[in-house]
Symmetry: C2
Subunit: 551 residues, 2 copies
């Protein structure tokens, strides 16, 4: 042994930023403006939170749920749990009641830290989440008088008050669990991805590389992507390590407000799904003179592929580079990424050719392996034409789902991503199709199969087929094709009411179409490609788009 | 286990650049010009070399010596040994015959790859390096007719000819040895630092971070620092991973030739010791109109601290950022580094204040721990004033020396670096001196480095070297050896008056000695041990002791 085998623990990097940049601010949006604290205060409060969690009986390895928007307390929860070795289970505030109940119980969260304004959603689970011993409530403007019966509750400030501002972070195994994030992208119940210290540590280093997001201590980072999505794409960790200024929008996601916040705080880099940047574009265009965007340099965009026209608009209009990234919860999430110029031979490309690169999903991050395969898992050529199933492996790729291994989602140690795409001669990944059965709405997945299974459970329904239809704002919205039993009468309202018992409102189909038959593939599966093509041929439009064009 | 525990092997990153950028060039200087091959050719030849080494009986874990300048074959040797799991033992061509014999035997090199022009140095060891079964000789222009009796020899091209261009890199333990580099910085025999795959992998990621060297695939990298010094500071690995153009100066280190090579090839980043950049500066000043340095962006400078006046010259004259780095063979080597602007609060600093940052050794790379300690290993305050012994630990820091552990060089798992310095409130490390080069006068320390930096800022002074001389009353007193620019006349009085503007009277040198040259160590640093020995051999006495004995 010639070199030190220092474990790659997040506790070794998360205090660094506050040490180097104690006075730099963490800014959180509030109902009436912003709330500000320094990096040093954030670190001190995180250490206090760790002590409070330990006093509440939380030990290394215990799951701690967060039901929080992006804000300073969420950052403190990241910091505290990572440091002490607890497991940060980020609960997606937008999940259905059913899924939320499932994942809290599946993870066995012992404590949940929740934003007061989100308490009503949690309240519905009263009596159904027995592992939760305590709820720590983060109050906010207008929500000072919160109450809950879901579990014994305590105010966040009271919880951490008086605790020491230094916690001696323990030495853990570098493969100890760090976080849990459930993905509802596939059939059946949500599946948990368990992040580990080593995997997120390496991911954090990767996103700070020049040819990646190029995060720097001089950046002002605004993570618009919720911190309950795949560790906020790693931005919180990197910002803690580097000592960046951070700007956190909380629940205030109105595009004009978001843009104003970014302008006011001098945000240099932000991260979010395409629908966010569509909205911000519209807000800007409504009043271009109102916003000085000169500080803004780059927008990391993932979750689904941003339309090239959107990338081009930011480039041409705001001189902002949209960095397209590809990945998923299972990939920590960053796997590939595209910059204007990220190869030596591209240095002198004219802008239009640079743009062709940016419109691709991009190059694989160093350390990962990715390839496209046919159905028998033979590797396919990188000719920019051949389309195959995308598989990926490496040190920040999921190896199995939490307490639900799902071996069918892996081929050896390769993760079967469920996406299909091409690889060109320059080594760029191009996503051909977001896996065809899923509906991507507002950055969230809606499982068509889950909806179908639920709909056909309704008496009188013979068959159901849910497909995505394009929507300018939400990217895609689900439409349900339904075959009724002979002589049955099941109105659309009843189908939607039935769905609402299990699914969140935004997951409900926008339309119910009664059909006589649904085309099948040669292997007897519903042929959704043909269904979508049929709707296209008919000139089908979603209800709210019909109204728009009529007006 | 939720995430893949993919071993951090160099084989996972070294082929990446050639895949992404097959046509980018690797340029090596030759007697009459340059020799060029592509990244893809370099990769193919590296895989061929691995096959040839395997055929020669080299197995994973076996040491392979290289006695090579920076050139494409040295890069191929890095690539091949790392991929196949052999241990790259970089032999310093400038070592003494005695040390060379010692380290080849101590490492037990089974095979040595040597540049033909360096063979005469190796030849002196004939009969004294019995473990070496074979020498693979890299011919070059003017050295086609090489011969050696040191071991059975084969031409490099013949050695790799006909081998397959794909070697299936084996799965190794990530802590398997990767390289051996001996350091001759201390008394006694050279000591070996054994790099491991994991340690260099993490170091490679670190130097590609934006707030570090910010290496990018779009860079043209010219490692002037020899690849037999601490893995060429990691530049070869990073360039292989990213797919940079690489420019390699081989033995042609004449400053004017070096500068011309950098200009001709559009080098954007280079790395070397201060004496190199002093020489390049002189070459530029001798004929400023001859060089278009517009492509050059940054020069990484380490090994010893560059004088602030030198940093400033590059900044003001060439608009080139000199990135000061601090580290040593034992630290892989990069530990701290300084950029113009590397904290959020420094974004709006005026240039003169930015410059103060660059003149420091800089900030610690994420993942490492560093602190200053007193003689009883108590941590000292970070007040920018208190000077202490610098200790460092982390995942790319040496844990013991190869087959010669040297526990006295460690305190627990902290490496005792042998450097002393301060840490300021911004977290910047400021190196005062090598602990053995500090001048101890009347119970106080005088930094030889501070005096040297101040003296070389005086017009007409080319180089300065301050060493301690024994004194019966004060213990030690400083003496300055000075090299003047050609034709300059800078009397001792002016040097001392200049020093008095910055230093207390008791810190001023007792004597100024004008010399024609200052001996350098094999790693290009001023060899103060030899300077002191030379003064001793001459019977040098300090002025007041001369007066005392005369009176």
């Amino acid at each position: 042994m010639g070199m030190q085998h220092t474990p790659l623990l997040m506790s070794r990097i998360i205090d660094r930023g506050a040490t180097l940049a104690p006075d730099v601010e963490i800014v959180t949006a509030t109902a009436s403006g912003t709330r500000r604290q320094t990096c040093a205060e954030t670190r001190d409060r995180a250490h206090q939170l760790a002590h409070a969690l330990a006093d509440a009986g939380i030990r290394a390895g215990d799951p701690v749920g967060t039901f929080l928007w992006n804000g300073s307390q969420h950052l403190e929860a990241y910091h505290a749990t990572a440091g002490m070795g607890a497991v940060l289970h980020t609960l997606n505030i937008r999940l259905s009641e059913h899924d939320l109940e499932y994942i809290i119980n599946h993870a066995g969260d012992r404590l949940v830290i929740a934003d007061a304004d989100a308490l009503p959603l949690l309240e519905k689970l009263a009596g159904r989440i027995p592992t939760v011993e305590r709820v720590v409530v983060v109050p906010s403007e207008g929500f000072e008088d919160w109450s809950t019966t879901v579990a014994p509750a305590v105010d966040y400030e009271a919880f951490i008050a008086g605790q020491p501002t230094r916690y001696e972070w323990p030495e853990l195994d570098e493969n100890a669990p760090l976080g849990l994030c459930y993905t509802s992208g596939t059939t059946g119940n949500p599946k948990g991805v368990e992040y580990e210290h080593r995997s997120q540590y390496l991911h954090t280093m990767a996103i700070c590389m020049t040819d990646s997001m190029a995060l720097s201590a001089t950046d002002t980072a605004c993570g618009v992507v919720p911190m309950f999505h795949a560790m906020g794409w790693g931005v919180p960790w990197a910002a803690l390590m580097l000592g960046c200024k951070q700007v956190m929008p909380h629940r205030f996601m109105d595009p004009a407000r978001l843009l104003q916040l970014m302008v006011d705080e001098g945000v240099t880099i932000s991260a979010g799904v395409p629908t966010i940047w569509q909205g911000v574009k519209a807000a800007y265009e409504a009043d271009p003179d109102a916003y000085d965007t000169s500080q803004l340099q780059r927008l990391t965009c993932g979750g689904s592929a941003p339309p090239p026209s959107l990338i081009r608009w930011y480039w041409d209009t705001l001189d902002v580079e949209m960095i397209q990234g590809w990945g998923m919860t299972e990939t920590s999430p960053l796997a590939t990424l595209s910059r204007k110029v990220m190869q030596y031979s591209h240095r002198d490309l004219p802008p239009d050719r640079q743009f062709e690169n940016v419109a691709k999903a991009g190059q694989l991050m160093p350390g990962l392996e990715l390839d496209i395969f046919d159905e028998e898992f033979n590797r396919l050529p990188h000719d920019g034409e051949t389309v195959g199933e995308i598989l990926v492996r490496g040190p920040w790729i999921c190896s199995e789902y939490y307490r639900n291994p799902q071996p069918g989602r892996f081929h050896g140690d390769w993760l079967i991503t469920g996406d299909v795409g091409r690889i060109d001669a320059d080594g760029y990944l191009i996503i051909s199709d977001r896996s065809k059965d899923l509906v991507k709405s507002g950055g969230e997945w809606i499982s068509s199969v889950d909806l179908e299974n639920h709909i056909v459970a309704l008496p009188g329904v013979a068959q159901a087929c849910v497909v995505a239809q394009p929507h300018p704002r939400w990217d895609e919205r689900p439409v349900a094709l339904v075959i009724l039993d002979e002589g049955a009468d099941v109105p659309a309202e009843r189908i939607l009411t039935h769905c609402a018992t299990q699914f969140a409102k935004w997951q409900l189909p926008d339309d119910v179409l009664y059909v006589k038959s649904i085309p099948l593939t040669s292997t007897g599966k519903m042929d959704k490609k043909t269904v979508r093509a049929g709707l296209d041929a008919e000139g089908y439009r979603l209800p709210d788009l019909r109204e728009a064009s009529a007006s």
